[in-house]
């Protein structure tokens, strides 16, 4: 009788402790989502659907306007960075993990070392580095493209790739490394070449690859510091001509920052709306990645 009581008490205490810990962990996440939804949703619906297309209203006015240029900028930045960055990082990961010859292995080791170093770089440093590179190269690039500026969509895309590609690389590479050697040998023994083998192994890993893609997508969407001196930000729509790549673009995260610090009520509200849209985008991506992974 007595030991049973003791056990029950112990079990109950542990349960209580774990529930509290659980609640404490969940609280910040819930409060974050709650605050953003509470402050942002009403603003989004006050100017719906104009909030997605308009430019910000004049500061201090009673209207909020919209964050069209910033939304468009984020879409352009992320789409281009994904289109260029994904193949590069996946191919690099395959090269490193599937290296056979000794020079391949050495190059792979170097790649891994440098990439892991890049993960540790603060993103603001990445942004500044890209800015510095672009300013140095600007006179030469301008000889080819007269309208080129260091503050541009192109710089922003490069910065985003530098920020998120190392993550994607590391995840895919780890995944490939974790595939048991006998599976690799089995593929080779069927007479497959190296390219086909890599393809088969990547397909074996598809959920890892999808997860890596969706995580780096979310990282790109929510990146701020690296964009300060690259994409630069814009409150107006860029003219959609052949120079689009070489002009500054806005981004949702930059809008949250600059509008939120402005001190004007309608701009602060707009900043909440931008945070809300940003959060919804990230949550939607998260959900999508879960669905895609489960679908496999």
């Amino acid at each position: 009788m007595k030991p049973l009581m003791l056990r029950k008490i112990r079990s109950l205490t542990m349960l209580a402790l774990i529930s509290t810990a659980f609640a404490l962990t969940l609280l910040p996440v819930l409060s974050l989502i709650g605050t953003v939804v509470y402050n942002g949703m009403s603003v989004v619906f006050r100017n719906f659907p104009g909030i997605f297309f308009d430019i910000p209203a004049a500061p201090g006015s009673s209207e909020v306007g919209g964050i069209g240029p910033h939304l468009l900028g984020t879409m352009l930045l992320v789409a281009l960075a994904m289109a260029i960055g994904t193949p590069i990082s996946i191919l690099a990961a395959v090269f490193t993990a599937e290296a056979i010859k000794s020079w391949e292995r050495n190059l792979g080791r170097l790649t891994r070392l440098l990439t892991h170093m890049m993960i540790e770089f603060p993103t603001i440093v990445v942004g500044l580095a890209v800015y510095g590179l672009m300013t140095t190269l600007a006179p030469y690039i301008r000889a080819l493209i007269p309208g080129f500026r260091p503050f541009s969509l192109l710089s922003g895309v490069i910065a985003l790739i530098m920020v998120s590609a190392p993550y994607m690389y590391a995840q895919v590479e780890d995944g490939l490394k974790s595939i048991p050697q006998h599976i690799r040998e089995a593929v080779y023994s069927l007479g497959a070449g190296r390219v086909l083998t890599s393809y088969v192994l990547l397909r074996y890993l598809k959920s890892t690859v999808y997860a890596a893609i969706s995580i780096s997508l979310a990282r790109m969407i929510s990146e701020t510091a690296a964009l300060f001196f690259t994409a630069f930000g814009s409150n107006v729509y860029p003219p959609l001509d052949s120079n689009l790549l070489f002009r500054p673009v806005g981004s949702l995260t930059l809008a949250v920052y600059t509008l939120g610090l402005s001190g004007y009520e309608n701009w602060v509200e707009l900043s909440w709306a931008a945070s809300f849209i940003l959060l919804m985008l990230c949550l939607a991506l998260f959900a999508l990645s879960k669905v895609v992974i489960r679908g496999e």
């Binding site: 201090g60 352009l76 800015y131 500026r149 930000g233 959609l240 610090l261 004007y264």
Partner: protein, 397 residues
């Protein structure tokens, strides 16, 4: 085998679906933008016949002082509507220092600063031999804000002199009940000052506001000039006593003053107005106590307009030498003129667009309907000088 083939097909299909969604979204986005641009183009039936030459789209990038950002965005909005989208202007608030640096590096078409080009920047420009102009575009002033609940409730307004403010931030005046502060107040209000320590709040980041404020203190207090000096950031003696603290940005100082009873701080006037903080009156050179507002700031700048140096001279100590502590019973002592700077020898369409925009800013833009709450337009005398300087931008022939 057949099963895996089918699953491969569904996988490819899924990938195609995702790529498709992304493509559709970006196409829809760009279509909307194009529609917007063409709408604005058709909406305004060429209001300025003389701007027929700029049929091509011109895109201007500028950046700098955060203080003028709200006013800039308001101007840009109206101007772009007027010109029907032939000129796009993008101004980003990256701070006065960054604005100057990035403009010098050639990343911006125009830079903007709370004061003007700094000494080091000016020397770099002279070295490179590039021709440029500086043009004041709006008036600015620094307001002293405070938090004395009982004092304010009694309907009193704090009165200060430059010397007392310097002594407060030097740590020589410790308490609100110090006779040097009390004697400045109106008789009835003297009793409402608390016998508490003054908490002195200042900017922790480099800022034009700090530069203006410390220039003024250097001007009125010899000890301040010798011990502290002026600049975008300085070492604050009051902090060493544990009675002072820094805060980031105008909004940070405002928030800290609002949250700390018995505190004092300094912010750009527009913030004080926007956040409805109590603003102190300052004694000017003629001995009158004045509030910072449109009348008193414009009065001070009117007196200074005569001495505005040429557009290519060094302006960095302009407020110190010419703007601050001016004569006139209505002059507010801490004023400045945020200015923009641009190179002269630019491609023709860019120079034309810059000229057109800033000409509009200095004429239509200075009218009350285009001025954002809390901002103050340039006085007439200053405006005319600025327009003259702007003429240098226009390519000859």
């Amino acid at each position: 085998m057949e099963h895996s083939l089918r699953s491969r097909v569904t996988k490819t299909r899924r990938l195609v679906l995702i790529v498709g969604i992304v493509l559709v979204l970006s196409t829809v986005g760009s279509l909307i933008v194009q529609k917007q641009i063409s709408q604005t183009e058709t909406a305004t039936v060429n209001p300025q016949p003389e701007s027929k030459t700029t049929s091509r789209l011109v895109y201007i990038t500028g950046g700098g002082a955060s203080f003028i950002n709200p006013q800039m965005q308001a101007w840009i909005r109206v101007f772009m509507e007027k010109t029907g989208g032939t000129i796009s202007i993008n101004y980003q608030s990256i701070g006065s220092g960054a604005g100057e640096a990035k403009w010098l590096e050639g990343a911006l078409d125009f830079g903007a600063s709370d004061i003007a080009i700094s000494k080091t920047g000016y020397e770099k420009l002279k070295e490179s031999g590039k021709r440029f102009i500086q043009v004041p575009i709006i008036a600015g002033s620094v307001a002293l804000v405070y938090n004395l609940p009982r004092f304010s409730e009694a309907g009193c307004t704090l009165r200060l002199t430059g010397e007392t403010v310097a002594d407060i931030y030097l740590g020589k005046i410790i308490r609100w009940s110090d006779p040097r502060i009390v004697e400045l107040q109106e008789g009835r209000c003297r009793n409402f000052l608390p016998d508490a320590e003054i908490f002195g709040i200042h900017r922790s980041d480099g800022s034009g506001t700090t530069a203006l404020f410390t220039m003024y203190l250097s001007l009125v207090s010899r000890e301040w000039a010798e011990r502290v000096g002026y600049g975008y950031t300085v070492t604050w003696p009051r902090d060493a006593l544990g009675l002072g603290e820094g805060a980031r940005g105008n909004e940070g100082v405002s928030a800290k003053v609002q949250a700390t009873p018995n505190s004092i701080g300094y912010v750009e006037l527009a913030y004080a107005v926007q956040l409805k903080l109590p603003v102190a009156m300052l004694r000017n050179r003629d001995g009158y106590f004045v509030y910072p507002n449109a009348t008193t700031v414009m009065e001070a700048l009117r007196a200074a307009a005569k001495e505005l140096p040429g557009p290519q001279e060094f302006w960095g100590d302009l407020p110190l030498k010419h703007y601050m502590n001016r004569e006139g019973r209505l002059s507010y002592p801490i004023v400045g003129t945020p200015a923009v700077f641009m190179y002269i020898d630019l491609p023709k369409d860019l120079a034309d667009a810059l000229y057109e925009f800033f000409k509009w800013v200095l004429t239509e833009g200075q009218k009350p309907e285009n001025i954002v709450e809390g901002f103050i337009p340039l006085p007439e005398e200053m405006r005319i000088k600025a327009l003259q300087y702007l003429e240098l931008l226009k390519p000859r022939g």
